[in-house]
Symmetry: C2
């Protein structure tokens, strides 16, 4: 139990700081965190219905409508017909919307690269292997926990 606690704490702070550094990008685009969360969902899930977005983010549909209006007028998302049900609108990222997510990811990766410079190359390599093993175990185990 003790080891799991320590490792969870290390991973939590590590990922918290990487996330914070990455989201600095949003200032350049004048985007709120809530707007970014919508772009992120669309980036990783593909097209989504407004109702799915609001359920996944846990905010009211009326709130999402407001958030999306801003994203639409800035050209980061477009509405399209759901090919499975032409009465339903789905939301889709534009290339400008994708660009934002990719800039955030690039900044996270540049930051991690910079942080690795002060570590021995051997440690970085070992960390990669060990995190890979941990992630394998997490992927398998998560099937029973989700």
């Amino acid at each position: 139990m003790g080891k799991g606690k320590v490792l969870e704490e290390l991973l939590r702070e590590t990922c918290f700081l990487i996330k914070k550094v990455g989201r600095q990008v949003l200032k350049d685009y004048d985007l709120t965190s809530a707007q970014f969360e919508v772009l992120q969902k669309l980036y990783f899930n593909g097209k989504m219905r407004m109702s799915d977005i609001s359920r996944e983010l846990g905010v009211a549909k009326s709130t999402i409508t407001g958030i999306v209006r801003g994203l639409e007028s800035a050209g980061y998302v477009v509405k399209a017909k759901d090919p499975n049900d032409l009465r339903v609108n789905v939301l889709e990222l534009t290339s400008r919307g994708k660009e934002i997510i990719e800039k955030v990811i690039a900044r996270r990766q540049d930051f991690v690269s910079q942080c690795l410079k002060s570590l021995d190359i051997g440690i970085t390599e070992r960390l990669r292997e060990d995190l890979n093993r941990l992630l394998d175990s997490i992927r398998k185990e998560s099937k029973d926990w989700l």
Copy 2:
């Protein structure tokens, strides 16, 4: 650059899955993600003004008002006077509110413990040391990036 990219991806998926497992707890409490985010902010930052919460989460003050109303009536948060300015209300976690965050953290830690069981004890120990080194570097470096 390559190493930073790989490590960032490993950490991103690892933390994404741990987060997802932890948030399963919210189903038992019938809490939305947005409500949980508010509790989490209060847990880690202490008392906060509504305006600070809405700025940090990047949603309109009117949205936060709705989210907080639900949390208040469920007994997870209370409003109190800001000791620095008695005209202003601050939001505070109750012990029931704290309990939720602690249950999420406990579930995350139980999950990580379980995942470590399939790894050699030596790898777990090494991972702890190496992640500690990485986090040290991240803490130092983040000062220039935030």
